[in-house]
Amino acid sequence: KRRYQLSDPSGAAHYVWEYEYYDDDEPVSFEGLRAHRYSIVIGFWVGLAVFVIFMFFVLTLLTKTGSPHQENPDPYEKAHRHTSCAVDISNPQDLENLACSRPRLDESRSLIHCFLQEEQQAGAGLGSGKANTGNECNLRDCSGFLLQEAQKGQRSMQDASVLTHFDIPNFVNLENSFTLGDDDLLLCEPPITLDSKSHTYSNHHINS
């Protein structure tokens, strides 16, 4: 809504550059346009749509390929089949809870690096079944470690004193059932699902 005038040093030409859209002193010539006038607009929106759709397909592809080593269950997994997750899978059908679960990982960097490497492998390998022997940890170690830690976490979670010691961030989801939208990782607070009997503990923590 304002204009800025640049005058040529020689004074010969006046260059009016303005972005005021109420009036147009300097008409732009539309002669000899080869493409459609709104080609930038069309190109922009088409490019945007393509990008968004591409992103969606990439994400769904990532979810489909995922971990290729599921046919090889770890002995840890066999032993701790019902308890080993930090998520209280009270509703086994509603595995969308898992999207919001934050497993009780040890904070060791090696584990995170392990998972990140594994992620890269899973993404890059796209279904190749061999474990990468070149890395220091392979899938079995990762999953075994995770489940071991998760089980520790699960056991300790049932102890009230340890709960307060753990200092859970206060977006613990107190609801038993997940309503629409609560289970999405990215749009809600990622909760730790607690069992119903530990509601009182978490309530106490939140209100303190």
Binding site: G66, I89, R104, E107, D167, P190
Partner: protein
């Protein structure tokens, strides 16, 4: 082959949106965001870093809707002839509203970034979350965001004609976009990975539906952000790069449409960020039922 009309100089007429539409969008956005702010303030459970960032986002949206409403009202008065468009005081007020708008735009982008960082820390440093993201640090972050946005708003309006400032602004937008995309995709990958781990247990079933939903969520989050913000920024880029080009001129003629997109993001934002939280929805219900029960008492 070359088909040009013999008519006027500019073939791309400026597309004008009636002020009513701007006004409606601004009012709806204002009410939604004020509701979010009030709910966060009233509920003590929501006094956490995460909700502080969401509240800050809602505040920036409120400011942008307020200034846009004010600008629409002023435009209406100008059209009716009560105000002189070239008058000094009108220009000054126009400057103030413009700088408030710029401030809210920059602040919104940084609030998105803060929310993404907060979620990232939640996922990747779950046990140390409370030590990393204390209320004090969150408030410091917010204070930095607000002061930087305020300063940038003023600088942008005063020095709008310099190419450097505009380049900085556009670069800032692109960098924030890429950073937010990276953070969310990384979080998404880890969440998928752990979900897969847990479903790999005997007795667990692979739930394709939840995977698809998370992918859809992320796409919507990002798609809406890009669709609402990029047209405006492309406009700024085009102003700098090709002011005389006829194609660019046609793009620039749609400025008000792009502004509508930007404003509508203030309407969609609460639906994506704030209303998805169960605790916040509970607070709303309490607020409304409280009013309803009070009105029953008075009957």
């Amino acid at each position: 082959m070359i088909n040009h009309t013999h008519a006027n100089e500019t073939d791309c007429k400026v597309v004008t949106i009636p002020s009513v539409i701007f006004f409606t969008i601004a009012v709806v956005s204002l009410s939604e965001n004020v509701l979010v702010v009030v709910a966060v303030i009233r509920n003590r459970n929501l006094h956490s870093p995460m909700y502080c960032f969401i509240c800050s986002l809602a505040l920036f949206n409120t400011i942008s809707s307020l200034s846009k409403t004010w600008e629409s009202i002023m435009l209406v008065f100008i059209d009716m002839g009560h105000l002189n468009m070239r008058g000094e005081s009108v220009r000054k007020v126009d400057d103030v509203t413009d700088s408030l708008l710029c401030m809210s735009f920059i602040g919104t982008i940084f609030s998105f970034l803060a929310i993404a960082v907060d979620r990232y820390v939640t996922i990747f440093h779950a046990l140390r979350y409370h030590n990393i993201m204390t209320m004090r640090r969150a408030l410091i972050m917010l204070a930095t965001i607000w002061s930087f946005s305020g300063l940038s708003g003023i600088i942008m309006v005063v020095f709008f004609h310099t190419a450097v400032i505009m380049t900085c602004f556009i670069t800032l937008f692109l960098v924030s976009l890429i950073l937010i995309l990276f953070l969310y995709v990384h979080m998404f990958l880890l969440a998928r990975h752990h979900a897969r781990k847990i479903t790999a247990l005997p007795g667990g079933a692979t739930h394709q539906r939840s995977d698809l939903r998370a992918a859809l969520t992320l796409t919507i989050l990002f798609g809406v952000f890009i669709a609402c913000w990029s047209p405006f920024f492309l406009h700024l880029l085009i102003i700098m790069v090709c002011p005389q080009n006829p194609y660019c001129e046609c793009y620039r003629s749609l400025f008000q449409v792009h502004l509508v997109f930007l404003m509508s993001h203030g309407v969609i934002d609460p639906a994506i960020y704030a209303f998805r939280s169960a605790e916040l929805r509970r607070t709303f219900r309490k607020m409304f039922f409280c009013c309803d029960s009070r009105s029953d008492v008075w009957k």
